[in-house]
């Protein structure tokens, strides 16, 4: 059996001249919690749509639960729960009626889970969806996804509109309940603290490109930010050097492994290593996305920043 819940190979999506997703290779293990990070417009939602067959890849391929999305879409959807970014459901239905509607689609549906999460999230089950607060609407979407008994949960910014207590409850549910069932969770977010709290693996996407995919433990253990001063030091990225910032003779390297060895090499080349610090997810994220100077946001189609000489 394929060990990957999600696997993509050079997955790409273009809209006209805009490359919304640019050849990404995702590897999400079964049973793992994977945080898919990126700024607004970085390509997270487009990627998720391709995972679910809502949007067709321009190039590359994607497998979900070991099956090709294009040829086995129904079988994948049977075992995959999804919460969309907008979380818009039928306005005139109550949560109870939405449960009634959704139940019929899934043989693995659990009414016990419905009761449990309705109580936990304090959802008014008899109130029309349109009358619910934004937070409760989000909770209803999550309740439907969690009660499905799915092997894979795909959540597009699931904590939007939730209060801190609800966020905490949700993260607990995802980490404990879904984790216990061996359900893989792929969730997009730009809330780094939440991702750091529960994710085992992270991927950071920017301008449609997957800048990094790694285990969170590896990031904490091995990733280092090295600052050095010297002449003609290495300025190219590599599997070991994730990013390089230069300012005059000062270099700042984001190193993924063997930071001590790399620092020693720099010293041998006459550089003075001034700093070598471990990094958290937040620092790495900022370090990586700040490198992108072309656009004002993570959006692949955003207007380029004009330099002062352009005016």
């Amino acid at each position: 059996m394929n060990e990957l819940a999600i696997g993509s190979d050079n997955l790409a999506k273009t809209y006209g001249n805009i490359r919304a997703v640019d050849g990404i290779n995702l590897n999400v293990r079964r049973g793992a919690i994977y945080g898919f990070l990126g700024r607004n417009g970085a390509g997270k939602t487009t990627t998720i749509k391709m995972l679910l067959g809502l949007s067709h890849p321009t190039a590359g391929s994607v497998h979900v639960l070991g099956m090709d999305v294009l040829s086995h879409r129904m079988a994948i959807l049977q075992r995959t729960a999804f919460v969309s970014e907008k979380k818009t459901l039928y306005a005139s239905l109550t949560p109870s009626e939405l449960v009634r509607l959704s139940r019929g689609f899934y043989p693995t549906w659990s009414d016990h889970a419905v009761e449990k999460y309705a109580r936990l999230f304090e959802i008014p089950m008899k109130q029309r969806f349109e009358k619910l607060s934004n937070g409760n609407q989000t909770k209803v979407s999550l309740l439907l996804a969690l009660s499905q008994g799915a092997d894979l949960l795909i959540l597009d910014e699931p904590t939007t509109a939730l209060d801190p207590v609800s966020v905490d409850q949700l993260l607990h549910v995802l980490a404990e309940d879904a984790g216990d069932r061996g359900c893989a969770i792929f969730f997009s977010s730009h809330q780094l603290e939440e991702v750091e709290q529960i994710a085992e693996n992270v991927g950071i996407i920017e301008h449609g490109k997957l800048l990094i995919e790694s285990r969170l433990d590896d990031i904490k253990t091995h990733f280092r930010l090295i600052t050095a001063a010297g002449n003609a030091l290495p300025s190219q990225t590599s599997p070991q050097i994730l990013s390089v910032d230069t300012e005059g003779n000062f270099y700042r390297y984001l190193v993924t492994k063997d930071a001590e060895g790399f620092a020693a090499d720099l010293s041998q080349n006459g550089a003075i290593v001034t700093n070598m610090i471990p990094l958290g997810l937040r620092e790495i994220f900022l370090q990586l996305v700040r490198k992108e100077q072309v656009c004002t946001s993570g959006n692949a189609g955003a207007t380029p920043v004009l330099s002062s000489s352009s005016f």
Partner: protein
């Protein structure tokens, strides 16, 4: 369960139209007792009411059946359920179609019973004169095919445009604009444009009817093909 959802979306309009369909002829008959109007105009009034009510039901159910299902915002929820998009298109269509037929049949049955009860000869009216049962059946079949045509067109356009008002507007534009267009093409270029549910050229009535039914279903099939290929 999905059929239940479709039924739930349309049941209010269905019940309102069903009640109107069931009471309008009896109420009119009771009001007109002793005036002689029923004997004079009963059949033509009954068939006119049938046509008007059927058109309203076809347009209303066509819009309601598809507008929420394929609205921009809820379509992600719907199309990530483990069913084909064709299933959703045809399930919504089927529920509305059954409701439309029920409304039409109830209106016909109650109308016929009313005319039989309150008039000496239900086959006679001032407008139509004396008509045969075959002529009445042809009128009714023609009406039902027209309703189906309008319903399918409205449903398909609403699904494609993902908006109830736009779907209704486009459908009404076609349905009410087509006769004018046909008149213009005949007057200007001597070309006969077939009008829905009317005879096509010199074809037998049965063949014309089958063709109009297939054209109506073709709208839904076209909507299905577009919905299946659309990016969400």
């Amino acid at each position: 369960m999905y059929f239940w959802k479709c039924w739930r979306d349309t049941r209010s309009l269905f019940f309102i139209l069903l009640i109107i369909a069931a009471v309008i002829m009896p109420v009119a008959a009771v009001v007109c007792v002793g005036t002689g109007l029923l004997e004079e105009f009963g059949l033509s009034a009954g068939l006119s009411m049938f046509g008007l009510l059927g058109m309203i039901a076809a347009l209303g159910l066509g819009v309601l059946g598809a507008s929420e299902e394929f609205a921009e915002k809820t379509v992600q929820f719907l199309f990530t359920k483990p069913r084909t998009r064709a299933y959703f298109v045809w399930a919504g269509w089927a529920v509305g179609c059954i409701e439309l037929l029920l409304i039409a049949l109830v209106n016909l049955l109650v109308g016929w019973v009313t005319l039989s009860r309150y008039t000496a000869n239900p086959f006679h009216s001032t407008l139509f004169g004396s008509v045969t049962a075959q002529q009445i059946v042809d009128n009714i079949v023609g009406g039902l095919i027209l309703f189906l045509f309008v319903y399918c067109l409205t449903y398909a356009l609403t699904a494609l445009l993902r908006n109830g008002l736009k779907g209704l507007g486009a459908s009404m534009g076609i349905v009410f604009g087509l006769p004018f267009f046909a008149v213009v093409t005949r007057w200007r270029w001597k070309i006969d444009v077939p009008i829905p549910a009317n005879h096509i050229g010199t074809l037998p009535v049965m063949i014309s009817n089958v063709i109009w039914i297939l054209v109506a279903l073709l709208f839904v099939f076209a909507a299905q093909l577009v919905v299946e290929r659309s990016e969400i």
